[in-house]
Amino acid sequence: MSHQLGRAVSEILHRYFGEIVQQVGKDLFTYGSKPISMIVKTTGLPRQQVIESLRTLLKFDLATFEPSVNDSIADYKLLPDNVLLLIRYPRYLLQIKSKFGSEAELLVEELLQQAICTATVLLVTIATKYKDGKESNINVIQLKDTFVSLATAAYIQQAPVAELKEDCEVPTLVPVATIVPDLDTRALIQAVNTGNIADINDNVYWRVNYDRFHQDFRDDLMVKAIARRIDDNAGELTRVLLQQMYLSMPAWAAESGPVPVTELRERCADKPLISQHINHYLKVIEESGAGFIRRYGEAGGGQYSVRVRHAAQELVHAALDHLVTERLGSHAARIFRLIRTKKYIDEEDIQKHAMLPNKECKELTYKLLEEHFISLQPMRKAASAGAMAKAIYLYHIKLHDVAQSATELCYRSLHNVVRRAHHERALHSRLLDKQRRVRSIVHQMRLRGEPAQNIVDVEETLTPPELAVLQSIEKRLKQLNTAELELDKTLFILKWYFMYPQ
């Protein structure tokens, strides 16, 4: 909960929900939790608008509420971490598309837009939307099957249900165990045809399970890291190991339980190169500097466990190395790594090991200290030695603190990127508006089947210089968008590291 986080969150809220929600969100962020009347007072917005904003925030799970002291009114609280997830949506869609195909993507996209929704409404809306479309091979039966498999794989889950406790007027949200639904296909087809869904009695609400996606992202990170370090087969083996781990452990455990090699061998039976050298691969992965897995014991032909927490730490280290390299140059990164390897090190020893000229070495060390990448630990000699005894200064790295400041930097950059995109849009809003208008007019003319000449005439209202400007804006916005996604990936690694207590 930092100032930078607040700035980033506020910009994101503005982008997705507009100014009023931004104001309410910002207010909630600044004051922690507070009831509606207080929000009205500090923001100066009409009560109705505040309620509407809160409704939106609550619906998208960006805020939560709890009974206030007197039990009759609710205190609202912003969930900044969930707000940051808004920019991760494209990644969710890509992930689900590559895993379950484009129908699943449609489902998840619609569900993300609706935030929470019943299965019936969701399926019928999508089916109606694409009924007349060119990709008419989307039908409600297939959609239903995809929905069921998504629910089985826990990518979507049932939304928590509001429960009213006794002598308390504020409901509490209680999570429900997800039950894979059994949907009536015939009723669905009928609903699509008639466009009337009132007949179907469905009051189970669904929403996207972000955690499941994050687990996929994390697996990908680990697998790719191993593949970079060793080879694709080793990466594949890591994936199998992780899957095996999920059978017995919670997905985010710091260290997995032991997985016997025999089980792994069975799972890899179809990959000759891996199964042939499975013990060798495991040994190489274990002995690679990353230390993602650990030999647990000898029982059952050897057992291995996955050190998830350690993996997070290693990846944060790698990210920080890159950061230092880019900010202060590769020599500074050398010193940074040197200090990490030696844990605590004296200034003179740094010079000796880093093989840098004394002056440069000192300068870089002090710069690292200035940017809070490293810390200094003075060691005083015993008092008896008198004035001659100088203190020894040992450099070391406090990973938690460094990661924290990297996170701050991420928030800052995220805010700047979103802000800049907003600025670019505002700067050229007239042109963008014009383009939008022309497009919609052309679209309607095409639908009406008007002669091509007329359409061309309308299109030509956008002059070539205007088109050139539009193109450059589009390019800029695209670049900013990519930057957002990439920043989010960095944040993901850092968040994953912070998940485990120090």
């Binding site: 080793a234 190169l273 790698a318 900010r327 990164a333 880093a354 840098l356 990297a406 800029r476």
Partner: protein, 296 residues
């Protein structure tokens, strides 16, 4: 006449001493030259000591005379006592050298006198002053013909007390290239990953041979020097090291676990002004020049 006898006697004693390089005692002399009286012996020995032919030692209560080596004797010829003392101290220090302060304390000479002595010895090219690499102000003295120790000269990386960072950088790059040539052997090796890994490892002596064959260095590089270079590669994160069962260190080129993260791909991640960047004011994301350049 008596001088002749004396010279004869000296000759005899010197010959005896030459035969026994470990030194001779009074007893040895009386056994070898039985006709010698003790008073004659004393005068002869005293003469010899004065001429600086002998070093005098006390071993287990008896005195031992040891012949000085010829070179040293010549070196201090024509020098006064102070010079001899200082010279001996410097000689003792070997190729590590001795600090002027230590000479002063051990020789009990006054500061001005000592500098004079040192200057005269230096002008005779008997000793030399060498600057210490790890303390630029500290000068140490050693015999003129000695090669300074690594701890003093800094080894191959120093040219006249200056650290040659370019040389180190070039070697660093060449070592990396050598390791990278092998690094791919581990990828999808049909003979299994362990053999692949072994093939991608290189020992320090292999790297040293490669560097020597390249001929980029006119200084002879020892294996230890190459190890220091390889260690900088490890600290650069471009290599990892491991130990063979026989105790040899081996090195392998590696890549970072992740590609450059998003944070360093945006200008803010590397911006020197990022901490001064605010929503309003002189430095803002809207007006940021770095960002404009990046977006072009």
């Amino acid at each position: 006449m008596s001088e002749n006898i004396e010279d004869d006697l000296k000759e005899k004693i010197l010959n005896l001493a030459k035969k026994n390089p470990k030194g001779i005692t009074d007893k040895d002399i009386t056994v070898a030259i039985p006709e010698l009286t003790s008073s004659e012996l004393v005068t002869a020995i005293n003469k010899l000591l004065q001429q600086g032919c002998f070093d005098l030692y006390n071993q287990g209560g008896s005195l031992i005379y040891r012949l000085k080596t010829q070179a040293n004797k010549q070196a201090v010829k024509g020098a006064d006592n102070e010079e001899k003392v200082v010279f001996n101290l410097i000689e003792e220090a070997g190729n590590k050298g001795i600090w002027i302060r230590d000479i002063r304390i051990r020789s009990n000479l006054a500061n001005t006198q000592l500098t004079k002595v040192l200057k005269s010895l230096e002008s005779k090219k008997l000793i030399k002053a060498v600057k210490c690499v790890n303390a630029s102000k500290k000068k140490v003295y050693m015999l003129y013909n000695l090669e300074p120790d690594r701890s003093i000269s800094g080894g191959a990386w120093y040219q006249d007390q200056d650290f040659e960072s370019e040389f180190v950088d070039i070697l660093n790059r060449q070592c990396l290239r050598f390791l990278q040539q092998r690094a791919d052997k581990i990828k999808n090796n049909p003979r299994g990953p362990i053999i692949g890994r072994t093939q991608s490892y290189a020992t320090a002596s292999e790297v040293q041979k490669y560097i020597t064959d390249l001929g980029i260095s006119n200084v002879k590089l020892e294996v230890e020097d190459v190890i220091t270079i390889l260690n900088t590669l490890v600290y650069d994160g471009k290599a990892e090291s491991s130990v063979y069962p026989d105790g040899n260190r081996v090195y392998r080129a590696i890549e970072s676990l992740i590609p450059p993260p998003g944070l360093v791909q945006v200008p803010c991640g590397i911006c020197p002004l990022v901490l001064k960047c605010c929503s309003t004011g002189l430095v803002t994301p809207q007006e940021c020049t770095y960002m404009t350049e990046w977006l072009e």
